[in-house]
């Protein structure tokens, strides 16, 4: 068990080093930030001064090592544009992204889980076909276009909901649906296959043979076990949503991490982009590590596979 955990942690560290190194290299290969920071017509001395001020005159290897050292102490550098520490900007925006992610997760669960259960219990009926259609549409409708259509319907035509910004539940509703829609489809698929697996297992057959009514078998026996992978996925998805909602946040002018990244990219704010992208990697590698270890604790068979 200890060996398993140690190996998983080592892999996670290696993953993060490769990821941060790649991001770091790409950022530096594609342009000179100094030219963007200086005013037009700045002299060579000015450029050299800025370069030195921001530590950009040192070799990439030194810059990377310094960056990683600082990152480990929670210091991700200063944004060129805001002149504020990246971590400060990030954690200012994080609660907004979390709020959006939580609502989107809730919506994906509300659509995906009931539809998945019905689809599995009534397998190969027209209920199942409808659920499959919903799953297919979840993958086929681009979330950002769904967001635009929601604005057209609920803001422009019906005038029920505000188009942008953060505030109360009315602000979060449309972006959460647009973001959660795609994930609802994956919830639905997983709930369905997980329920089908559990419903085909011996203990469910036994429960049925004992003469328990269908409702009890499905609600008490199958549901509980089938939902373990579903809620695991919901947790992982939440972390992904917090970090991947760039377009939805741009469309709805939602002040989250995604829009911070978007702004950073267009202002060529290297430390900001680098910091936000690497923090996203940290969060996702972290949640995957937690899930892996938790599953190994629950199920000893997992520890034996590599």
């Amino acid at each position: 068990m200890a060996a398993f955990i140690a190996r998983r942690i080592l892999y996670s560290v290696v993953t993060l080093v490769i990821l941060s190194g790649t991001i770091f290299l790409i950022v530096r290969l594609t342009g000179d930030p100094v030219l963007l920071m200086a005013e037009a017509g700045a002299s060579t001395e000015d450029l050299a001064r800025i370069r030195q001020q921001w530590g950009l005159d040192r070799s990439w290897a030194v810059q990377y090592v310094t960056f990683m050292q600082n990152a480990l102490t929670g210091e991700l550098g200063k944004s060129f544009n805001y002149r504020l520490p990246v971590s400060e900007l990030y954690f200012q925006r994080l609660p907004n992204s979390l709020q959006l992610g939580l609502f989107a997760t809730l919506i994906s669960l509300l659509i995906g889980v009931p539809a998945g259960i019905v689809s599995a219990v009534k397998v190969n009926t027209w209920w199942d076909s409808i659920a499959k259609g919903v799953a297919l549409l979840g993958l086929s409708i681009p979330g950002f276009w769904l967001g635009l259509v929601l604005i057209l319907v609920f803001s422009v035509s019906l005038r029920w909901l505000p188009t942008s910004g953060a505030g109360d539940w009315r602000h979060v509703l449309m972006p959460a649906v647009a973001l959660g829609w795609y994930f609802a489809a994956s919830m639905l698929r997983l709930t369905r296959s997980s329920m089908l697996e559990v419903l085909g297992s011996e203990y469910i057959k036994l429960a049925r043979l004992k003469g328990l009514p269908d409702v009890v078998v499905i609600a008490m026996h199958a549901f509980k076990n089938a939902l373990i992978p579903v809620f695991t996925l919901a947790g992982v998805n939440l972390v992904v949503m917090v970090n991947a909602a760039v377009i939805i946040e741009v469309i709805f002018a939602w002040p989250g991490i995604g829009r911070l990244l978007y702004e950073g990219i267009f202002q060529r704010d290297f430390p900001l982009v680098q910091g936000v992208v690497i923090l996203a990697g940290f969060m996702i590698v972290g949640i995957n590590l937690v899930v892996d270890i938790a599953y190994a604790v629950i199920d000893p068979r997992i520890r034996l596979t590599r």
């Binding site: 990821l19 594609t30 681009p142 950002f144 267009f266 990697g281």
Partner: protein, 287 residues
């Protein structure tokens, strides 16, 4: 009493007619865009105003049947030429991703050892970022053009192939015909070409059919954010982006039509991919 076979099994074995028809139609539209489009997609329609509505609405005309955009360009012609962009990026991006991923998967699975370790750790690192964030990041850094987008999306979406194909190769490697070829003295390259590659081709095809739609949506997303296909090229994502300022003015046709096109093409590829998966892999039939 005669039991009818369950609907799903029978219907799953026949090619999904609707998907094939939609895909065939879209391919034809893309090929013959020059003949089909009534106007030049990058120039204003002569005599038309900006934001003319579709022909069935008041103020619309059949000169621009689906209306005009903010530069008085014909929406229909732009949609027709946009099919080309979506299909080229979707297919070529998938091809690049599939080529990189299949190669990595085979090398990783067949050679093993430190090669396997390196490739798998890089795959992990790639998967640690949401694909779309990675793609936006690369596109913003490298600069917008259709061919850049193809390479970028290929460079982002190869990881799924690498993982799945590595798994297949690990079992293939232990099969008798591979062992015998090794004993007979065949070179590694020959074994990969003659014995491994043909046996992972089906899996690669299924993955490809399911990746096309993802790549098409990714291209639309990048173009929408202004880091994809640059204007004045007619790409659906770009059309949605150009429609954004007019959203609140109620010019819905600018937003609805390009989105419906994306929806149709992705839906058709997904249906086709699902069918292909079941057809090529009988074990998948119950899922």
């Amino acid at each position: 009493m005669r039991l009818a076979p369950p609907m799903s099994i029978r219907s799953r074995r026949e090619a999904p007619l609707a998907a094939v028809v939609i895909l065939a139609a879209l391919v034809l539209v893309a090929i013959f865009a020059d003949l089909l489009a009534p106007h030049d997609p990058t120039l204003p329609v002569p005599g038309a105003n900006v934001f003319d509505p579709p022909f069935w609405m008041e103020g619309g005309s059949t000169a621009a049947p689906l209306g005009t955009d903010f530069q008085a360009r014909d929406i229909l012609s732009r949609l027709i030429y946009g099919t080309r962009v979506s299909l080229i990026v979707g297919l070529m991006g998938t091809l690049v991703a599939g080529a990189i991923g299949t190669l990595m998967g085979i090398l990783s699975g067949y050679i093993g050892g430190w090669v396997d370790q390196v490739i798998m750790r890089v795959t992990d690192a790639w998967l640690a970022l949401p694909a779309i964030v990675f793609a936006i990041f690369l596109a913003a850094m490298i600069g917008p053009s259709m061919w850049n987008i193809i390479v970028i999306l290929g460079a982002v979406y190869w990881t799924r192939y690498a993982r799945v194909i590595r798994g297949e190769v690990l079992t293939l490697r232990e099969r008798e015909f591979v062992k015998l070829a090794e004993i007979a003295g065949a070179s590694k390259l020959r074994i990969i070409k003659r014995h491994i590659l043909p046996n992972v081709a089906n899996t690669a095809m299924v993955l490809a059919s399911l990746t096309v739609g993802v790549v098409i949506i990714a291209e639309a997303s990048l173009s929408f954010l202004g880091v994809g296909v640059p204007p004045p090229q007619p790409a659906w994502g770009l059309m949605l982006s150009e429609a954004r300022p007019t959203l609140l003015a109620g010019q819905w046709w600018l937003t609805v039509f390009p989105g419906v096109c994306i929806l149709l093409i992705v839906l058709a590829t997904q249906l086709f991919g699902d069918w292909l998966r079941v057809k090529l892999d009988p074990q998948q039939r119950n899922l």
